[in-house]
Symmetry: C2
Subunit: 142 residues, 2 copies
DNA sequence: TTCTGTGCTAGACTTTGTCTAAACGCAATA
DNA sequence: TATTGCGTTTAGACAAAGTCTAGCACAGAA
């Protein structure tokens, strides 16, 4: 891969620190991908990341994009969002929140956690922990 | 396709009536698929339906299984469940409920709606309606 | 310098699901 | 009876998301 700076609000330092804080070795490619992801809170799928990262020149391979997104999700840097049966979205906004999905347009919006009152959760089986609670409100045009 | 009776608790009459009630023309294949689905409330993906329907002898093609599951979902006979990014599950239990998904084993359990207190939902944009609210509690072994 | 481990890569491959074009089934008409 | 029409089914080609493999690069340790 070639290397060149991307003009964004995030400097390399900040991104590298963020990766280190999550126990991730900050390679050239991972920094490149993280820079795209954290430019702003967003919902993106693998191919969009691949396209954005390689917009100017080819910097990262498909395999690495998939591997890296998987790694970031496992390490708690980003979050998987399941709304479209055809592809997996990743959410670079880790502040707890829910989603509103527009089934006809494919649009995905954040919903502040306060807007959905989640009361008592069910008993979790012995020896198990809750990894997360996903609430998706599916809406469509009348 | 060949035709032959399947020994199940559900008789053909009941299934045919159910399809008609939802505005679906009860063809041989649709009845076959519905019989598998409604033997008991369950979560199944397309290939499981394909396999079950054709267990004894080839009764329904792949294309028809996919088309029919899509049709049934659209007509409100069954419900899509998105928990596994690799495949779409269908739920033959239409009584409103939520889900607990065991991420390591792939197991999917029902959660009674009373066990999750969903308070106020967010404002829905003008001209849109809520199609459904899906709550998935992801759990894993400690 | 050589060895070792981690990461990256192209491209083959797998799997889920969709599409197409032809054939089928059946009822209504001629 | 023959014909037409329409919705349905079908095999198999196809598309797209995602995974896997085998080789290479590179850094640090010995
Ligand atoms: Mn995409
Ligand atoms: Mn399956
Ligand atoms: Zn979000
Ligand atoms: Zn269920």
């Amino acid at each position: 891969m070639k290397q060149e700076q991307r003009n964004t609000g995030l400097d390399r330092e900040t991104v590298v620190r963020k990766l280190r804080e999550h126990g991730i070795t900050p390679t050239q490619q991972r920094v490149e991908i993280a820079t795209v992801l954290f430019e702003r809170p967003q919902h993106v799928c693998a191919d969009q990341v691949l396209a954005q990262v390689n917009a100017v020149e080819s910097l990262v391979s498909k395999a690495t994009v998939y591997n890296t997104l998987g790694l970031f999700a496992k390490k708690g840097l980003i979050r998987e969002v399941l709304v479209d049966p055809a592809r997996l979205f990743y959410d670079s906004n880790m502040i707890p929140h829910h989603h509103m999905y527009h089934t006809d347009s494919g649009m995905l919006e954040d919903v502040a956690p306060g807007q959905v009152q989640l009361g008592a959760l069910p008993e979790v089986p012995e020896g198990m922990v809750i990894e997360g609670v996903d609430v998706v409100i599916r809406v469509r045009r009348i």
